[in-house]
């Protein structure tokens, strides 16, 4: 009786799993099945056999792998891994260029991926954090954020059935102070007490505030742990003490732990209460409606309900809000922007592939050079898939290393960015999570397929036997030529643009062309939270004028130092404006700078010709005056006289200011967007703003010694006015441009590396292409060909590819730079430098790559070449 047979595929899998024990294992199983079938039914025996085989396959595979690891003996994939590491070691230059360039592009892609997932898919770090939602109110047509009216607030908070809890908050800095504590603007929020029910926290001391407590005494405050430690020295008896918040006395009821900084990154909380006398139509700017979705409810149902309720309560016919209920932690991005984020990530993944294609060129060249080695392995029994697998692992060793480096770089970069960009919500975690690692490793895999498998497939496609015999001439076909052309075009276009952007951003640090004596000038922002409070009571420009006059009077009296106000600090970028010169019909784009009469005293600048602003210019009824700077005279007026001309501003909404006379010309104070040539500016008289910069010159004393007096002077005028960001003028200019400088430097460095990689890739492809034809060239020379003609032929082919690539690249780059010019930044495109340098470098790399191997080919003795045939 013959034994039942196992399915072939199972036998195959079992044999693979058993490795060298394959025959023995298969025989034993056969014997067992024979035994089982003679003692019972064939079907049972077959089933037992299949079961045994299925159990043995994974156990044998894992067991053998563990044994191999225990012995450290290379086998299979581990051998490939060792070969890969050895190759990296043996070609250090190639490896370093590949890894660094890949890591740079991967770091960019990884950073954007981290940011995208953090912004779009974060959840609050509390239980059911995804059920805490925010109501996204936007104007249906403009998509601008709308703030709820009190009527809408009531419609939302009273009786929403899809919600378990509802509430509202508003974020703002709040002035916190006391007799023994200097006033300081602290990030804070007005919150409804309900907030603590759906995003609970346990206070370190005291209690949270409740509706009942707030109804009785609304002036209560909760401190964050950091404020408690820094401002109150961690005083254990702080609960029950009184402090001033925006000038009003508040009782401290509790201290909240550092881990709870809801809604964004706050350290101070006061109750959100509807002011007495506020009507249903009044807005509370900055307020947001939030809540927690009830069990079993969905975002869609909540959205439908919110839209219906808020729509009914919306008072004005011209206000059409689009209402969406969204998870709180994802609520600050416009859903319409989601595809944009992913498109950008996709674009950077493509950039990684461009870098990988460059590495592919290098690997291809190396693979060609190793053809004999691969052929020997093939002859010894390695299958094509085995060899392709080996080359994939070699490439993966490079790209995997690059991925690890990329995640490290990206983590550093994001940490730095988070320190520069303040106010990142506390629940946004930019450290690399498993998704980020998976993304980076996925990128490494993709890049390895590009850089390893594609060249490997190409190399192994042709007969391996040719490689062993050493007779096949290696050439680069049409695909390679197309790759070279695309390579050059992309490199020139992308790198040219990167350099232009980089230079433009870098220019931000060198904004100022005048050497201001800015050592002793201290500056700070005076911020008045006018929305909802002051704006409704009085005209902001009147409030602002009185604030400035009061602060200036007090400081000049107490300290005797010059004080000035401005909207734009010297060395920072001023707002772009359009002006019209009387008698001319064209509009000119200039920088519009708003300053008071103290401004020029502080910076110690005088007008020539003419005069600077005087106190009389700011008196009621004074005729409006303007100043222009020297670049304005040169660029806009072409050197003509400026004083006495009349100008007016054109605003974005189509209206114009009144005509005003130019009374003086001042030097350039560097308020340009990073390019001194774009520095034409018009100075106008400062009128109302709730966001002013104050400047004071400290002669002979520590400039920071002036700050407490500044703060006090503002606070004395109105307790709600906050003094923020006190620093030296020089640092203010640097800080404003730090982020762009960082981006600029990064673009420069990466552009440079990409250029290096492209040039190396180009060199590899061309020089290996020619080197592989060395013998052919040698034979031709031996047969009497003119060496010069050969040089000409080869040079023609290469320069044709180079030429097409360069032309395409210059065209693409030019188009791209025009596109970039549409951006907010003024980018002065210098095609000679921005496109010319990368083009020249690529051309140089191309020519060098032709010259060296060609020289070698021509130096071959004809007899030697013939012998080789």
């Amino acid at each position: 009786m013959s034994a039942p047979r196992l399915p072939r595929v199972l036998v195959w899998a079992l044999r693979r799993a058993a490795g060298p024990m394959a025959d023995e294992v298969e025989g034993d199983l056969h014997e067992l099945m024979h035994r089982w079938s003679s003692g019972g039914s064939a079907v049972t025996a077959w089933l037992r056999g299949v079961g045994t085989a299925l159990r043995m396959i994974p156990r044998l595979s894992v067991g053998r792998a563990v044994e191999a690891l225990r012995h450290g003996g290379p086998s299979g994939w581990s051998l490939d891994g060792k070969l890969a590491v050895r190759l990296i070691w043996r070609h250090p230059g190639l490896s370093v260029i590949s890894v660094v360039a890949l890591a740079a592009t991967m770091a960019l892609a990884t950073s954007l991926f981290t940011l995208t997932t953090a912004v779009l898919y974060s959840d609050l770090p509390v239980e059911d954090g995804d059920r805490i939602v925010i109501v996204d109110l936007r104007d249906e047509t403009t998509r601008r954020t709308l703030y709820p009216t009190w009527g809408e607030y009531r419609a939302w908070t009273e009786g929403a059935t899809t919600m378990e809890h509802v509430g509202a908050f508003r974020v703002s800095r709040l002035n916190l102070g006391r007799d023994d504590i200097p006033v300081q603007a602290v990030p804070g929020a007005w919150v409804t007490p309900s907030l603590f029910r759906f995003n609970p926290t346990v206070p370190l001391a005291g209690t949270l505030f409740t509706e009942a407590m707030v109804a009785e005494t609304p002036n209560v405050v909760l401190l964050g742990e950091d404020v408690w430690t820094a401002q109150f020295g961690g005083d254990p008896d702080v609960v029950g003490q009184y402090v001033e918040v925006n000038g009003a006395e508040h009782r401290i009821v509790g201290v909240l732990p550092e881990s709870w900084r809801f809604p964004a990154d706050e350290s101070l909380w006061v109750p959100f209460v509807r002011p007495a006398g506020a009507t249903e139509e009044d807005h509370f700017p900055g307020a947001h409606l939030i809540g927690r979705i009830g069990p079993g409810e969905s975002l869609d149902r909540a959205t439908a309900e919110a839209a219906a309720r808020i729509g009914r309560a919306t008072p004005l016919p011209d206000r059409i809000p689009a209402v969406t209920v969204r998870p709180f932690a994802r609520g600050f991005s416009d859903p319409a922007e989601v595809p944009l984020f992913w498109t950008a990530v996709g674009a950077l993944v493509l950039l990684v592939l461009v870098a990988a294609a460059n590495v592919a060129n290098l690997v291809l060249a190396r693979t060609e050079a190793r053809r004999s080695e691969l052929a020997v392995r093939s002859a010894l029994g390695a299958s094509r898939s085995r060899i392709v697998g080996q080359l994939f692992i070699e490439a993966f060793a490079l790209t995997g290393l690059a991925a690890v480096l990329a995640v490290t770089l990206s983590t550093w970069g994001l940490e730095w960015m988070a320190s520069v960009v303040q106010g990142l919500p506390y629940y946004i975690d930019l450290s690399p999570d498993p998704f980020v690692w998976a993304f980076a490793i996925g990128l490494a895999g993709l890049a390895a397929v590009f850089a390893g498998v594609v060249p490997a497939l190409r190399t192994t496609r042709q007969g391996m036997a040719d490689g062993v015999r050493g007779t096949r001439a290696i050439g680069f076909g049409r695909v390679s030529q197309a790759v070279i052309v695309a390579e050059i075009a992309l490199s020139v276009a992308l790198l040219g643009s990167a350099f232009a952007l980089g230079q433009s951003f870098m220019g931000y640090t060198r904004g100022s062309v005048v050497e201001l004596d800015d050592e002793g000038i201290v500056t700070a922002t005076l911020y008045t939270p006018w929305e909802g409070d002051i704006a409704e009571q009085e005209d902001i420009s009147d409030f602002d004028a009185r604030l400035r006059a009061s602060v200036r009077r007090q400081l000049e009296r107490e300290l005797g130092v010059p004080v000035g106000f401005t909207l734009d600090l010297p060395g920072t970028e001023a707002q772009s404006s359009r002006i019209e010169i009387a008698g001319e019909n064209t509009l000119h784009s200039v920088r519009g700078v708003s300053v008071d009469d103290g401004f020029f005293d502080v910076v110690e600048v005088e007008a020539s010709p003419g005069r600077v602003f005087e106190r009389a210019d700011f008196l009621e009824g004074a005729s409006p005056a303007l100043l222009v700077n020297e670049p304005f005279v040169d660029d806009v007026l072409g050197g003509r006289n400026a004083v006495g001309r009349t100008l007016r501003f054109h605003y974005g909404d189509g209206t114009q200011s009144g005509w005003a006379e130019v009374v003086g010309v001042v030097p350039d104070l560097g308020m340009n967007p990073g390019d001194p040539k774009a520095g034409a500016a018009v100075y106008r008289r400062l009128s109302g703003s709730n966001h002013l910069s104050i400047m004071a010159r400290a002669d002979g004393v520590d400039p920071f010694a002036l700050v407490p007096a500044m703060r006090e002077a503002a606070f004395d005028f109105d307790a709600r006015v906050q003094l923020r960001d006190a620093r030296l003028l020089r640092d203010a200019a640097r800080d404003q441009r730090a982020l762009l400088t960082g981006f600029g430097s990064a673009l420069f460095v990466m552009g440079g590396m990409a250029l290096l990689l492209s040039a190396a890739g180009l060199y590899a492809v061309i020089s290996f292409g020619i080197a592989s034809r060395t013998r052919e060239i040698g034979v031709r020379v031996a047969l009497g060909a003119d060496a010069l003609r050969i040089v000409r032929t080869v040079a023609f082919r290469v320069s044709r590819n180079l030429g097409i690539g360069l032309a395409l690249g210059l065209g693409l780059g030019w188009a791209f730079l025009q596109g970039v010019g549409v951006l907010e930044f003024t980018i002065r495109v210098n095609p000679v430098i921005h496109l010319g340098v990368p083009a020249a470098l690529m051309a140089f790399a191309g020519l060098v790559s032709v010259w060296r191997p060609l020289k070698r080919a021509l130096a071959i003795q004809p007899a030697e070449a013939l012998r080789a045939e």
């Binding site: 034994a3 058993a18 024990m21 025959d23 023995e24 294992v25 298969e26 025989g27 034993d28 056969h30 014997e31 067992l32 024979h34 045994t52 159990r55 043995m56 156990r59 044998l60 067991g63 053998r64 044994e67 012995h71």
Partner: protein, 117 residues
């Protein structure tokens, strides 16, 4: 030959004892049967193959292929015998275990962790 071994694992000891008991008829199939019959444990067949391979690499057993057999689909058996080094280790292990048992008496039932005199 592979590395030498100073000690035997539990399962390695079982396999070696089974090989010794089976004498000239020791190969994977009866080894599994032997262990199963005497200990009541059903060892994994894969574990037996891997252990035999490891013991062979360590120089404790040697193997040779028999003749191809029709009931094995034309495949041969791999017969195993214990080498002197393997015997020595088995003896040492037994002596060690004996010393550990000396003076110990475990209660038959309900003794819990105690019951040792």
């Amino acid at each position: 030959m592979g590395s030498t071994k100073d000690t035997l694992g539990d399962f390695e000891l079982l396999v070696l004892l089974a090989v010794l008991r089976l004498g000239d008829e020791a190969y994977a199939v009866p080894i599994v049967d032997e262990i199963e019959a005497r200990t009541g444990r059903s060892p994994s067949r894969s574990a037996v193959y891997l252990t035999l391979k490891r013991l062979e690499e360590a120089g404790l057993v040697a193997s040779e292929m028999g003749d191809p057999l029709p009931e094995r689909g034309g495949k041969a058996r791999r017969y195993v015998r214990v080498l002197p080094e393997g015997r020595r280790l088995v003896r040492e292990t037994r002596a060690g275990l004996r010393r550990m048992w000396e003076g110990l008496e475990i209660a038959e039932a309900g003794g819990g962790a105690g019951g040792v005199s």
